[in-house]
Amino acid sequence: MPDQEIQYKKLREERPLGLREDACLVLRAPRYATCRACETACPVQAIKVGEITFELGDACIDCGRCAAACPMGALGLPGFVVPEVKPVQGELSSAKPVPVECWKVPAESSLPDAVRVPCTGGLSTGRLVELAAAAGDRPVQIWDRGWCAACRAGGGPEHPVSGALEAARGLLAGAGVRPEKLPGIAFMPLPAQLMPAEIPSSTSQQTLSRRGFFSAFMRETTAAIDQVRPLAPKSEIRRKRGFERTPMPSRERERLLLGLSILGKSTDKPPPSEAFYRVQISQACRSHNICVGICPTGALDIYEEDAQNGVVFDSYLCIGCGQCVTVCPESAIELSPNGNDLMTIGQLRLTRFGVQDCPVCGQTFTAQGGSDCCPQCAKRRQLASSAFASLFGNNR
């Protein structure tokens, strides 16, 4: 899970932004994916997502706001890593906030323990939660130097991080973080003439305290996520997948759940139910399992037990992209925010069908609608009889 292990393919040789093509929703399933989060988030309209192409234009300013918007965490920009936050000595230690600021702020103007990222607008909800978890007792404070409104990466009156921050505050409050410990924005103006025109390159930031980040922290968090997401026994879950584009959990979601689980250990509360989606499958289901095939994260899967099978849903993995809803030919799937139902978090079996062997071809199929043979054989039989009727009239 550490950032450095993920392989991102650089979109342009001279730009740091990278993409994992196999994680991008649109490139995975161009017909049903409507996601254009990165395109919308880009303040300079540098990204064009086509049906099979992902293009980054000359205009890119390396802010990482696209990466923050991506629900799959498919985009990556170096510089957004959560550093080790050192506890502060002294009486009022826990009240001292952890400042977060952007690379444009000269190093000499920022505090030595500040977390420095390319652009604060590039912090996603998951990153903010992760940051809050790493900061422990100290609240995270994003410093606005009064430059954001004029910065090209800011692009508007709203602070670029405000959307993600609001979502993170909601989730953290739900996880039991006290109001005064929630992350917030602090206005710490600096003279406007100090602001550089471009976001400095990552090489100029190497000297800062990002060496040795995680290591110990990572070990703890890997254990933590195993605790919150117990994996199903292998004999029960049989994964069928294409030889490419296998389901992959969203990086962004991993960050979010990781942060929430660490915080949950200190507050002793379960993760807030607002962090989860809920998928329901109605009686109209005909067990085609197309939803399982298209689900990008593997949140929908097939289980088999005791001559029965069906769809199992894991709310820890679901990012709520809604492709299952769109793709279902029977319109049997409903996706909704979880609401307040803690009972539906985790793995849930959504459907259950009896399995039998087709007397014609011997293939195992899900029994329904009173048909005695598998759908393929039924189709074959029906085709033959209708073909004879249309070719030879009275079907003699």
Binding site: R28, A29, P30, R31, Y32, E51, I52, K240, R241, G242, F243, E244, R245, H288, N289, I290, V292, G293, I294, Q323, V327, P329, C361, G362, Q363, T364, P375, Q376, K379, R380, R381, L383, A384, S385, S386, A387, F388, S390, L391, F392, G393, N395, R396
Partner: protein, 254 residues
């Protein structure tokens, strides 16, 4: 550019299954998963059942319903009218199998039809589902030609590895003509009673075009709007009784 199509004369078809066998050899298929099947169909009960058969390749529709549902756009139609699957894109969701009204798509990762499982005997390496001792056409995953990889759907390609090499402007691909023999789809080439004709539907002088107009070529399941490029003809045109490809019908009649 040609628009490839096929005509199957049901009057001539004897149900010998040479086409299925040829397809199996050409495309490394196993029983039960041939791209080209002869459907056997019984009507009625003892003592007077009727056995009928029906050769069924992929229809290579003009408006393929499989193409319009594919989430990854792995199914595509070539400029010369052939519907193919890009195995590099297919995720094996099987939506196309549900959408296809003719049932001519195959997902072969499940139970084998015959025991022992030949695929276990000749185990494939990497992504390939098996490693047959005799290999047919060259592997071309982008056109769905060759040995099927695991986890993807496959279908008849009209032997795309052959027909795509035919010289431009070719009207007919037949076994009789030495010049076109090598480019003829395996099932057409093998058909002993020459019940199959293959050629350019856009060319009014091609054998297939003439047969369709003179013998009232019929397309299956017209109501679905798929517009197949495979036409069926019977001896005296649709509705004629003499052309019923029947087996024991009549013999059992008292």
């Amino acid at each position: 550019m040609a628009k490839w199509g096929m005509v199957i004369d049901l009057e001539k078809c004897t149900g010998c299954q040479a086409c299925s066998t040829a397809c199996q050899m050409e495309n490394n298929r196993l029983p039960g998963e041939n791209y080209q099947d002869v459907l056997y169909y019984t009507e009625g009960k003892q003592p007077t059942p009727t056995l009928k058969w029906f050769p069924r390749p992929c229809m290579h529709c003009e408006e393929p319903s499989c193409l319009h549902v594919c989430p990854t756009k792995a199914t595509f139609k070539t400029a010369d009218g052939v519907v193919l699957i890009d195995w590099n894109k297919c995720i094996g969701c099987k939506f196309c199998m549900i959408a296809c009204p003719y049932g001519v798509r195959f997902y072969t990762d499940e139970k084998p039809l015959i025991e022992p499982n030949i695929k276990d005997v000749f185990k494939g390496s990497g992504d390939l589902s098996w490693n047959p001792p005799y290999k047919g056409p060259q592997q071309d995953n982008a056109h769905g030609v060759g040995i099927q990889p695991n986890g993807v759907v496959s279908k008849c390609t009209f032997c795309y590895h052959k027909i795509s090499k035919a010289p431009a402007g070719t009207a007919n691909l037949t076994n009789e003509d030495e010049a076109t023999r090598e480019f003829t789809p395996a099932c057409v080439r093998t058909c002993a009673p020459t019940a199959r004709y293959f050629g350019d539907l856009d060319n009014p002088n091609s054998e297939v075009s003439r047969m369709i107009s003179s013998k009232k070529g019929t397309r299956l399941l017209e109501h679905t709007g798929n517009k197949p490029q495979v036409y069926y003809v019977t001896g005296s045109g649709a509705g004629g009784g003499a052309a019923v490809p029947m087996g024991r019908n009549g013999i059992n009649k008292v």
